[in-house]
Assembly symmetry: C2
Homo-oligomer: 367 residues x 2
């Protein structure tokens, strides 16, 4: 076994999930990621924790082939009580992404995927209230999607995952401080993107490889009704096996009032039509992981890239919403990315804090 797999599992157990004796852990991982699960189980046994491997077809991505079989034969869904009971009783949760075929659920109708997500929402909320970690195993399907050989992709994944997360935390702390104190943020990129939103009272978190592995972003929640302007998400979105290009959203009073895409617009439409919350932003995130140096059609990595900003339509993470502030709620949480490398700036309360990808606290910043 590649020694980096055990290093990867050690980071999950010791750093990301902080596993304790007696922990009851749920693992959702496709079979192609078995090597990582083997290493993870060895460490859980040592730690005195109990794993159960479980996947539900309502969450297409961890068992895509069997999930597709279920989803294509059904249009409406309830929340299965037995899956919910499993999560209610669990302490921690690991989800491993790894594709044999990244397009496997691409021929499930988007409305069906949306209906499945809605039914799965109470389970998703239960999970988010526990310790959890989402990580990646470098499977051939993901390598293919990224246009890379499997070996090159393995290097890419483990370079991003097996690193000094304390140093990364410190690097990001400067931006957390800025956003945490911010009232209004304005993001400008090229001719198409100019959007303002209030962060007043909300909390900015430092993601250094806990809930997401790799980590490498700082993120917070916009005040739902405060978003005004337009955004062209010029990096592609790969959602449920289909690629959306040039997603464009216009906001008025926080709501998406108009949208378009140059490819697979119906996927974007289905996302926005999920529920009221799916037409509002639930997250603003700033990518700060300079170890992730290329776009790989994988949000877990792409949103962490330096020189990017991402926004998610749908649910806000509860811990980013300040006391007394409104939390955007939705069955959906879909991130989309803006490339900030050129003709771009982030302004906080009227002051530029990033220009063309370079932060105020980095060398080469041009205010």
């Amino acid at each position: 076994m590649d020694p980096r797999i055990r290093e990867h599992a050690e980071i999950v157990v010791d750093h990301s999930l902080d596993v304790e004796a007696g922990d009851e852990v749920v693992v959702a991982a496709p079979a192609v990621a078995d090597d990582l699960v083997v290493a993870f189980y060895e460490l859980l046994a040592d730690a005195g924790a109990y794993p159960v491997a479980a996947t539900s077809p309502l969450e297409g991505r961890t068992s895509p082939r069997t999930a597709r079989a279920f989803l294509r034969n059904r249009e409406s869904f309830d929340t299965p009580g037995h899956h919910r009971a499993l999560f209610e009783a669990a302490d921690a949760f690991l989800i491993v992404r790894a594709f044999e075929n990244a397009a496997e659920v691409g021929d499930v109708p988007p409305e069906t995927m949306t209906a499945a997500s809605q039914a799965n929402r109470p389970i998703q909320e239960e999970r988010l209230s526990k310790r959890w970690c989402l990580t990646q195993f470098p499977a051939a399907g993901n390598a293919q999607l990224a246009g890379m050989s499997t070996e090159a992709y393995e290097n890419f994944v483990w370079d991003a995952v097996v690193r000094d997360w304390d140093a990364q935390r410190e690097h990001q702390a400067g931006m957390v401080e800025i956003l945490d104190a911010a009232d209004e943020v304005r993001i400008v990129s090229g001719d198409e993107t100019d959007v303002r939103m209030s962060l007043a009272g909300n909390v900015t978190l430092n993601d250094y490889g806990e809930k997401n592995l790799p980590g490498g972003e700082v993120f917070t929640a916009p005040v739902p009704d405060s978003v005004e302007g337009a955004v062209l998400f010029d990096l592609p979105l790969y959602h449920n096996g289909r690629e959306v290009e040039d997603a464009y959203l216009e906001f008025d009073g926080g709501e998406v009032v108009s949208h378009s895409a140059s490819k697979n617009e119906d996927v974007l439409t289905a996302i926005l039509d999920t529920d009221d919350g799916a037409r509002r932003l639930g997250e603003l995130g700033i990518g700060m992981n300079r170890g992730i140096d290329r776009f790989t059609y994988n949000m877990l990595f792409d949103e962490k890239m330096g020189d990017t900003v991402h926004m998610a339509v749908g649910s806000a993470y509860a811990e980013t919403v300040g006391e007394g502030n409104e939390r955007n709620e939705s069955a959906m949480h879909v991130d989309m990315i803006v490339d900030m490398a050129d003709e771009s700036s982030i302004e906080v309360d009227g002051e530029v804090v990033q220009r063309n990808g370079t932060f105020r606290f980095e060398d080469g910043f041009e205010g």
Copy 2:
């Protein structure tokens, strides 16, 4: 996909589990059986039922590679509450056996396997109280264990599974009638096997492809303290990746007072040492499926062969124990087989009902 896979799944859904709308189903299946799970999920979706795929390392056989990683790094185990909660909330359960490598858990110490079974017992009991079905997918590892090509093994499995279960039920009904009315049964084979036991008040069940698929046996529970004599199980036992040959048990007052095996006796010892109930019989079964014509080192098939009798040490199925009778309880249930083709007889209350494999109600019976 081989059309027999969909026929197999249809029998599971319509006949074995009798799935209803709203059923919450747990599926434990290794990835190598994904084709069958795909067909099963299609039908569950049509039926309005909800599957969750779940495996626990305490049950080595459905996820052997990851289970081994956990089990080899631990010696004592508790019952994981989250796995139990899943089964408490579920309505029905499908377990699919399929080996990539039948020896995968063969280097886990037998005592560890036993400790894991004990911790898993409350979950196993919960399952047995629901609708459940254990079936087989014809994986290459099982074919290899049987000494067969994968194609020949596929034919073997689907010939045994895809059949007229109503006709099988009728064929077996004669033997159910005999055993259900029996007080004492005596089983004689060769020079080594001569054992008597009481069935008084207990219930004989007709297995026609419901809880076991393939089915093809009639089975009941001996009165625990009534077993007297000795049995040489002359067909091999394949248990947790290791083969036990010539298991020999001597009973006194229902208890195993002496045991031996010509190969891997330590596996047999670990089974018997699980708990008090593991030293007593929990089942007597008569194989009656003439469609299973060869021994394949797979108890699900072997115990159903015509010309065989099997006995299990360990827990008795609750529904085979008559009201007011004692039920043998154990974390273990391990079947072992006696070949009845030659120099053998089954006597019920002093009357021979089978000689050399031929039943009283079949052509060629020599009383």
